[in-house]
């Protein structure tokens, strides 16, 4: 029994990491249709923010508290730069944004390598996060619980933002029908910029959280990028709750396969399962009905 609970918890915590990596992308890709291959590097920026903050703040717990807003702002700033510099000219060429942002990711990775060096940098983890708690007879690390909580908070925040605020309503309006939104007087350009900044910033926060579980290296983001895309696509574009279900399901399936076999097999089997799932249901778990033909 506790094995089952343990594996479910493991799946949940793996899923929440995937969700964290994907939540920003559900805005930029899901809402805007921009395929940002540099999303992983925004996560990496967030992770290095923790390192930079820790150069000045020696108390680990405090440094994390400070790092979260810093990471958000820094990643958002780089995101705005990217959006303003290149992407805004390419909204009608979504596929091309994929390759442009891949170029950006190469540059950001190399920049990180030149600035911080190729080896992983040392990050201090707050003392209270390094233990574990028992839940229904199974143990789960405190840091993982924090990640699950953080992922849920961000998801709730984003869905509240989209549902209940004017900015969010504009974002959705632009997603559903850009021309109509424009005609109704919504500043679509500003909305785009805001959405992209928000999505990038969320990636930065994800980066902060990911330093708790893995190493902080220039290639940190590229480990998550394929997963993040799959989660967003499998969840159904423009549905953040679809992404939640997809991430948790992927996490649980992967942990279950890993339990029966090895982590290595679990990784490629889960990729293939998502590919098969999308063959069966290409619109993802939830789909948005629009009148547009595209």
């Amino acid at each position: 029994m506790d094995v089952v609970v343990g594996q479910l918890l493991a799946g949940l915590s793996v899923g929440s990491v995937l969700l964290l990596a994907a939540v920003g992308m559900s805005l930029t890709f899901g809402q805007m249709g921009i395929i940002n291959m540099a999303h992983g590097e925004f996560i990496m920026i967030g992770a290095y923010t923790v390192y930079m903050v820790q150069q000045f703040v020696s108390v680990a717990a405090l440094s994390y508290v400070i790092a979260i807003p810093c990471a958000f702002l820094l990643a958002a700033a780089v995101g705005v730069l990217l959006e303003q510099g290149v992407l805004q000219f390419m909204y009608r060429r979504p596929l091309d944004t994929l390759l442009v942002t891949f170029g950006v990711s190469l540059i950001l990775q190399q920049a990180a390598r030149d600035i911080f060096g190729a080896p992983a940098v040392a990050i201090n983890i707050p003392e209270f996060l390094s233990g574990h708690v028992s839940l229904l007879g199974a143990a789960i690390p405190v840091s993982r619980i924090l990640i699950i909580v953080l992922a849920m908070v961000l998801v709730l925040l984003v869905s509240w933002l989209l549902k209940a605020t004017q900015v969010g309503r504009r974002m959705r309006a632009v997603t559903v029908n850009r021309e109509l939104a424009e005609v109704s007087g919504i500043p679509t350009r500003r909305t785009d910029r805001l959405t992209f900044a928000l999505g990038s910033g969320l990636a930065g926060i994800a980066g902060v959280a990911i330093t708790l579980i893995g190493s902080t290296t220039p290639t940190l983001g590229s480990n998550y990028i394929v997963y993040a895309f799959l989660v967003v696509v499998a969840g159904g574009l423009s549905s953040i709750w679809g992404a939640v279900i997809a991430a948790v399901a992927l996490g649980i399936v992967q942990s279950a396969i890993a339990f029966g076999t090895t982590q290595s097999i679990a990784t490629w089997v889960s990729f293939l399962l998502v590919v098969l799932f999308l063959q069966w249901r290409p619109q993802g778990i939830f789909s948005l009905k629009t009148r547009s033909l595209a």
Partner: protein, 423 residues
């Protein structure tokens, strides 16, 4: 319009035929596998090494970009230092070393191509570098075909001995087997194996399985993650339920961070679950986190803390050159040594000729930072002293156990009965 098209076709056709014909003419007389000349093709390779001037070219090939740059850049640093030292002290046979540098880009195929380029294009007398098994396996046929020399500085899984490669890192009997002997002497009976999914861990684990079977130990589980993987929740859960006494860790690079984080947060430490790692050296410790590693064990042949005259000089020279915060590690030392071993062999042969250097390599020795190393002319590995280390609170590794004298290299584990059938 139609006219236009067909005329174009007409002009094109003879052209294609010409290309095809040219190809056929040239290809008419190549040698076939079945003919006798096939086997001796490599013997006819002429070296283009220029020994006339005051300089002699050598090649360094390491990954300066891609995922392996983390580790390989440090090897390049110590190679550069060795080359400068040799040049300052008069060079090799009176010739200054002219280093041709290449980037392997963490990609086996690039390693093969660049190695070929160093040998045939840059005409180097010998090449130093490589790290992953994949890079070595990719370069091996190139060096054999071109009849050149590669000095490979990293501990590896063994089961190989090329006439054109000198292996200055540990063979399995100088690292993995001593680590197992030590674990046995400590009374560990149940081992949990965790490794990255590539050739070294899988082959190492095969050796461990065979050893365990013959020595009354059991392997309770054998787990792999993809290279760079960071998800260890399930693996550590399994470890918890496995009843293992100790972990044998062959994880590579970044995955160690995620593993030890998860390991520590599930309440494990060096007393509750001793872990012996064969791929964590001094330079990886800060990234993995000293808190997670303190008190854990490693198996190598060299540590920065070794108390020899040569090592003190090596460490202080390295720090003076690259910065006080830098550390030295086993592969770096093995690379540094490799250049001196080549120098000694060349000087003994009094020639840069590959065959003469090979003929004079047997028994060449060098007072290395790790102690005396000697080349075994038969299998091209070196005699080295295996050492078990423990991570101390300064982030360095203290030697806690070592063999009394350098051990003869045995890449195929021929001298071990339990290893029959492994190769």
């Amino acid at each position: 319009m139609h006219d236009h098209t067909s005329s174009r076709r007409r002009t094109l056709l003879p052209f294609m035929t010409a290309v095809a014909a040219l190809g056929l003419v040239v290809s008419g007389c190549g040698s076939q596998v079945s003919t006798a000349s096939g086997g001796s093709a490599s013997a006819s390779v002429k070296s283009c090494v220029d020994t006339s001037g005051s300089k002699i070219k050598i090649g360094f090939i390491n990954s300066l970009s891609g995922t392996m740059a983390i580790s390989e850049k440090t090897v390049r640093d110590s190679l550069d230092m060795a080359a400068d030292e040799i040049n300052k002290s008069g060079g090799v046979l009176g010739k200054q070393l002219d280093v041709q540098a290449a980037d392997g880009a963490s990609d086996p195929n690039t390693f093969a191509q660049k190695a070929d380029q160093l040998i045939r294009q840059n005409c180097v007398a010998a090449v130093f570098g490589g790290w992953t098994s994949a890079s070595r396996k990719a370069m091996k046929p190139v060096f054999e075909k071109d009849n050149s020399l590669l000095y490979y500085p990293v501990q590896y899984e063994g089961m190989e001995s090329s006439p054109n490669i000198y292996y200055t890192g540990a063979a399995p009997n100088q690292q993995i087997v001593p680590a197992l002997d030590w674990m046995k002497s400590k009374g560990f009976k149940k081992l949990f194996l965790v490794g990255s999914d590539y050739v070294f861990p899988r082959t190492a684990n095969k050796i461990i399985q065979a050893y365990a079977k013959a020595n009354g130990m059991t392997v309770v589980d054998e787990q792999y993650v993809p290279l760079g993987g960071t998800d260890f929740t399930t693996i550590v859960n399994k470890l918890k339920d496995s009843g293992a006494d100790a972990v044998f860790n062959t994880l590579n690079g970044d995955s160690n961070v995620a593993f030890f984080r998860q390991f520590a947060s599930m309440g494990f430490n060096s007393t509750t679950m001793p872990t012996i790692s064969v791929s964590i050296a001094e330079q990886e410790i800060p990234g993995v986190g000293l808190d997670n590693l303190k008190g854990q064990y490693t198996a190598w042949d060299y540590y920065q803390t070794l108390d020899t005259e040569q090592n003190k000089k090596f460490v202080s020279d390295f720090k003076a050159r690259y910065g006080q915060d830098r550390v030295t590690s086993d592969p770096m030392e093995a690379a540094y040594v490799s250049l001196y071993l080549w120098k000694a062999a060349v000087e003994k042969a009094n020639s840069f000729d590959v065959d003469k250097v090979k003929a004079n390599s047997d028994g060449i020795s060098f007072d290395a930072p790790e102690g005396k190393v000697t080349v075994d002319g038969e299998n091209h590995h070196v005699y080295k002293t295996p050492r078990i280390g423990q991570v101390n609170s300064a982030g360095l590794i203290d030697t806690i156990w070592q063999t009394p004298s350098p051990l003869k290299p045995d890449p195929y584990l021929k001298d071990y009965d339990w290893a029959k059938g492994l190769s």
